[in-house]
């Protein structure tokens, strides 16, 4: 590999448009500075960070020069990405907490019940919020397809249809299989079913990631009016609040169970999850981490939205 190619490879962190404009100059600078010597790790790391920042600026996640409409659009997209992490975390939480009330003394169920109900209600309302947003976006997608044809969004939509179709097939297959099994077989008693369950989980994860990526790609192509952007951004702000409620609900449920029914968290046998001897079961830790990550993304998006709403 020539020195020039080697330097160009280091710049792969930067977005293509940026590389086309500044790449040759930056490569020349690296050649002049390091010649045939290897580029130090510290400089590589600094270029990776700078390239990532440029990518974030290009899509409008960072930067002060971004237009107000782009801020609203990108902010809402960040909130949606955060929510997709909540879908995964919520599924783990829902599976983990199955039958928690049976394992918890009746006198100590109140707090956990409030937490669990908050998670369920906020989860349902957040799903409705996303559906409402999708309904608002749908006519704009139709307008784009009528004006420009499928070309601009064909690939992501096709990829999404494949992912959703696959997950639907896996779930249907698993459900049919589960109907012919006993409770014990369904809950860790049959290795084949457990593997099938895990594979379905992975396929569902891929489908959620694909759906989110499709939503982001497609909405980037759409020409929203300012009014529509304000509406979608308001829904995004509401979604962030609901995610906050979900996190608070999970924390309340978890804390209450850790105090009053630690055996449920520690010996959570019967629903297929790995058991531990403490009050930090891996499944809940993963769900909690995903929720915090999602909430951070939603907060960052909401700040971007608020900045866009203020800017005229």
């Amino acid at each position: 590999m020539s020195a020039s190619n080697h330097f160009e490879r280091i710049l792969r962190w930067y977005p293509p448009n940026w590389r086309a404009h500044y790449g040759p100059g930056l490569v020349a600078l690296l050649e002049d500075t390091y010649g045939e010597n290897p580029v130090p790790l510290r400089i590589r790391a600094s270029l990776a960070r700078a390239g990532t920042v440029e990518r974030a600026r290009e899509v409008g996640v960072l930067g002060e020069t971004t237009s107000s409409n782009d801020r609203l659009r990108v902010g809402s997209q960040l909130v949606l990405c955060g929510w997709s992490l909540f879908v995964i975390a919520g599924a783990i939480f829902a599976k983990f907490t199955e039958h928690w009330n049976v394992a918890t003394p009746a006198a100590h169920r109140t707090l956990a019940s409030i937490g669990d109900s908050a998670v369920q209600w906020a989860g349902v309302v957040s799903a409705i919020t996303v559906l409402v947003a999708a309904l608002f976006v749908f006519p704009v997608v139709v307008r784009l397809v009528r004006a420009q044809g499928w070309t601009s969004i064909r690939r992501p939509v096709r990829r999404n249809a494949l992912a959703v179709g696959s997950v639907a097939a896996f779930i249907a297959g698993l459900t049919l299989w589960a109907h012919r099994m006993s409770f014990h077989q369904r809950n860790g008693g049959t290795i084949g079913y457990t593997i099938g369950f895990l594979v379905t989980g992975v396929v569902a994860l891929v489908a959620i990631a694909t759906a989110t990526s499709t939503a982001v790609t497609v909405t980037r192509e759409l020409d929203f009016s300012r009014r529509m952007l304000r509406l979608l951004s308001s829904l995004a702000l509401g979604l962030t609040v609901l995610m906050g409620v979900i996190v608070a609900g999970v924390a309340l449920w978890w804390a209450s169970e850790a105090i009053y029914a630690p055996h449920f968290l520690a010996n959570n046998i019967g629903n297929g999850f790995i058991s531990t001897s403490n009050t930090l079961p891996p499944a809940l830790v993963v769900a909690g981490a995903l929720m915090l990550l999602g909430l951070s993304s939603a907060f960052a998006g909401s700040l971007r939205v608020l900045g866009g709403l203020k800017k005229t």
Partner: protein, 126 residues
């Protein structure tokens, strides 16, 4: 003064230090990336990494404070624009005002003397 400093900072962006160093370097003539980095290091002692340097260059160009100079060489030279000169002059005025104020409050003799002589000259020319 506070208002003017804020205005200058927003003109130069959040990372105003590398931007100021680059504008200062280009004020004495057009330079390409490597020459810029070396010049900045020579007059300020600050080593700008390639990522930081080109991040600041792209931001300055976006704001119209510097512009690329057409060149056949693989090295891309840049020059300061008139808006860039204005932004740099404004930033220099702010820094001078801050330095003068700091020197006066710290009672730094040499700087205070310079301040006095400048006031004298200003008084004589009025």
């Amino acid at each position: 003064m506070a208002k003017r400093t804020t205005a200058t900072k927003s003109e130069l962006g959040r990372q105003s230090e590398p931007a100021l160093l680059i504008l200062t370097s280009l004020a004495s003539g057009e330079k390409h990336g490597y020459a810029l980095a070396k010049d900045v290091e020579a007059f300020s002692g600050v080593t700008l990494g390639p990522g930081t340097l080109y991040g600041a260059i792209s931001r300055l160009e976006e704001r119209g404070l510097i512009a690329p100079v057409p060149s056949d060489d693989r090295r891309q030279p840049y020059k300061i624009t008139s808006s860039g000169r204005t932004a740099l002059a404004s930033a220099v005025r702010d820094m001078r005002a801050l330095a003068d104020e700091g020197a006066a409050r710290l009672r730094l003799r040499v700087l205070a003397l310079r301040l006095q002589s400048r006031h004298l000259v200003t008084g004589l020319t009025r």
